[in-house]
């Protein structure tokens, strides 16, 4: 009787410690999960729409990468652009994508090699529709809805 009681009591004591660590592990896991999902949530609202990389080359953006667009987005090789394209054929500031009056617009920013929309080089500010393909330097991009 005495022995059974002692064994049981120790089981309870060890159980307490085990539970304490179980709680700790779960709390850490919850913290970790929340940090990851909240990070994803923080990214989402920053893009009104996306430019999805279609064609690329080594050193450029990954194929299929979604580049978020804000109301005005500058594209180019320079680090000061909102979307930086690591491509020798792209100019320092290549083109500007903007959203106004409920429409997407694209404008060449005086680039050397020009901005091409759906196979045609643009000479002025042009409308962009979802699904349109642009070429900036050697990189192909497609406008997609958020």
């Amino acid at each position: 009787m005495e022995i059974t009681f002692n064994v049981l009591l120790w089981a309870v004591r060890i159980g307490f410690l085990v539970l304490l660590y179980l709680f700790l592990v779960r709390a850490f896991a919850a913290l970790w999960r929340e940090m990851r999902t909240e990070g994803a949530v923080a990214l989402r609202p920053s893009g009104l729409a996306f430019l999805v990389v279609q064609r690329t080359h080594a050193g450029g953006p990954r194929s299929g990468e979604r580049l978020p667009l804000s109301a005005v987005t500058a594209l180019g090789r320079d680090a000061g652009n909102d979307v930086v394209l690591n491509d020798e054929a792209a100019s320092a500031r290549h083109s500007i994508v903007s959203f106004s009056d409920g429409e997407w617009w694209i404008e060449d920013a005086g680039s050397t090699n020009g901005t091409v929309v759906n196979g045609t080089k643009i000479w002025q500010k042009e409308r962009l529709h979802y699904g349109d393909e642009l070429t900036v330097g050697r990189i192909g991009l497609r406008l997609e809805q958020a």
């Binding site: 009681f5 709680f23 700790l24």
Partner: protein
Amino acid sequence: MIRTRAAPRFAELRLLVIVAALLVLGYVAVVASAVATFSATPVVVPVTFLALSVGLHLFLVARGTRGDQLLLPLALALTAIGLIEVQRLAPERLALQQLTWCCIAAVAFVAAMLVPRDLSVLSRYKYTWALLGFALLISPLIPGLGREINGARIWIGLGGLFQFQPSEAVKILLVIFFAGYLDEHREMISSSPKRFGPIPVPPLPYLLPIVLMWGIAMIVMVFEKDLGATLLFFGIFLAMLYVATGEAFYTLIGALMLIAGGIVAYQVFGHVQARVDTWLAPFDEELRFGSSFQLVQGLFAFANGGLLGAGLGNGMPERIPIVWSDFVFAAFTEETGFLGGLALLSLYLVFVFRGMLIALRAPTTFLQLLAAGLSFIVAFQTLVIVAGNAKLIPLTGVTLPFVSYGGSSLVTNFLLTALLIRVSDITARVRGGP
């Protein structure tokens, strides 16, 4: 706060199930060790605690509270450990008193979730809160109202029964005031301060509160003989100043001022001298069974614990005087060992880390500073008392948050948790996240 439909909080619920099991096991171990058999009689404490946990969880669900689901389970886990320890260590009537305080703390938590409906009231009336805090701080010095217990004049008593430690509530009021004040003067952060060589000269809006706060900290140390509160108030203030300005130099000035004040106080005042002496040489012939007896017994308790501990209810923590308030960490570590102590500290780590994350993500500067300051309260207090127990710094009488026996402290910590959850709720609504 926008009223919304009830929203489930499954992560919180899952954690609370573990907390409930934790309390029951710990409680059974402690009670069974005391009476040497398993008995079903003392069910009041576990049942009440479980009811409180479920009640608070359902309240948050019914309110549609979004955001953090970690803080409530953490706070309740620590409170559960506190209840187990009080049952283990303190005289019988204190356990029931602590349970009563748990209920009051739960009510305070609910109240703080509801009032004020808009948290900006806190920043708008910041000087009112500061004044209220100062009044509370000096209230124990009023003859007739103040009480001196265990050498510190930090209590106010009403009648013979009710005692309250106002410095606990002052901590939250101070954080609210600092957050509002530093937020109001935040434009000065971006403008670089004038410099004499490498030394930045703080603009007056920063210099003034540093000096004022230092003065208040010194008053607390000298007249109320409360070294722990001195360290806490000033530490919280310096941490928030650093968060707001990013200027480490202000913190350095503040720390130097505190050290200078401490050295002068050591020379002049007996109670400061006694604390430092017992810290430096607790095993001294004259002090061993005198003023350092508590500290020495605490150190023996740590040593007795070892890696796995003596087993909950099986140690000898009752040999430490007043173990249930100041030395609860030593007692817990003796009976659950290094593993238990480590887990307890990790719980605080997760709590503070969570608080800091809430601060980082909060949408306004005021809410950021508020959440950071509230997290600092828990961090500093844990650090000061655990380091004091372990003879790393001179022992000062602050409570181990949620765990130590003590009503004012428990209520304050639940208020603090409620405010953190509200900040995270606001953040979740602004961001449109979960």
